[in-house]
Homo-oligomer: 143 residues x 2
DNA sequence: TCACGATCGTTAGCCTAACTAATAAGCCAG
DNA sequence: CTGGCTTATTAGTTAGGCTAACGATCGTGA
């Protein structure tokens, strides 16, 4: 590994790596015609059980209008359903449908084909390093 | 660190981490009103000295029409210039202008403020792990 | 030599995904 | 019971990707 570098330089390196990896992953994306954003939202919703659009937007770190659009697409496909909030007439409760859960299960298999393939070519030590890094990055991205 | 996981699961973890980090970085971006994509292209061009649009597109791993748009925005701002190719009438040569270089120099200072700040809060060991991971990811993202 | 296929850059058109601003509906406190 | 806050949506903009198609140019093979 190269010499230890100051945080600003590491930030540049990280952003560059992440940008490029994102582009590569995007290029190989048309799996099941759900976009990464939609899949991520569906997964968060499934993990949480049920959320309001606002809560889901906060979870996904997007603004409410953005989540409105994402949910609309998922609803079109019958992957999420909305039920009225029991006491607050403004809010709605989002939850995954059986179809949505089936879709998620299917993705569990087909998921990340390209990236997983590339990762499988790495040494176990490299994969360990990436795993550790992913956990650190999750922490960094959290508030 | 958690137990070692299979590549498919690691791929999921990585993509999630990267997606979230990208969103966070985007939210804190309005520094000098150049986007990450534009900055990346400008930096690549500066590093290479001079490139054709095709070469720059390949470097940035986007399709030529995408690079046309990015270059158009950079040219509007006077950050890059185009000169005719000396022998091939189809091609053009892109290079950074003095203004573009000044902009890059300014970014060298203000760059990655949020991310660098967050990274500075980590332990040196965590930063080492991220540095190693970034280098691995660069390799993975490369062809 | 010249006609035709390949290459380069651009244009046009589409999509995803994000943002802000504004609006309608509903809640609640004084 | 009214005025202000919250929730969700709509409308409109921007960035950034893609593919398809096109004109200009290059270069090669008959």
């Amino acid at each position: 590994m190269a010499k230890r570098m100051p945080p600003a330089q590491l930030a540049t390196l990280l952003r560059d790596a992440i940008t490029r990896l994102n582009r590569r992953v995007r290029q190989t994306r048309p799996v099941g015609d759900l976009t990464g954003t939609q899949l991520s939202a569906l997964t968060s919703l499934e993990l949480a059980g049920a959320l309001t659009p606002r809560e889901l937007a906060d979870t996904e770190r997007v603004q409410p209008p953005t989540m409105t659009k994402i949910v609309a697409k998922l609803e079109e496909r019958g992957l999420v359903q909305r039920t009225p909030h029991p006491t607050d007439g403004r809010q709605v409760i989002l939850s995954t449908t059986d179809t949505g859960r089936a879709m998620l299960a299917q993705f569990d298999r087909a998921r990340n084909e390209w990236l997983a393939g590339r990762l499988a070519e790495l040494t176990p030590e490299d994969r360990d390093a990436l795993q550790r890094a992913a956990e650190i990055l999750q922490k960094v991205a959290r508030d």
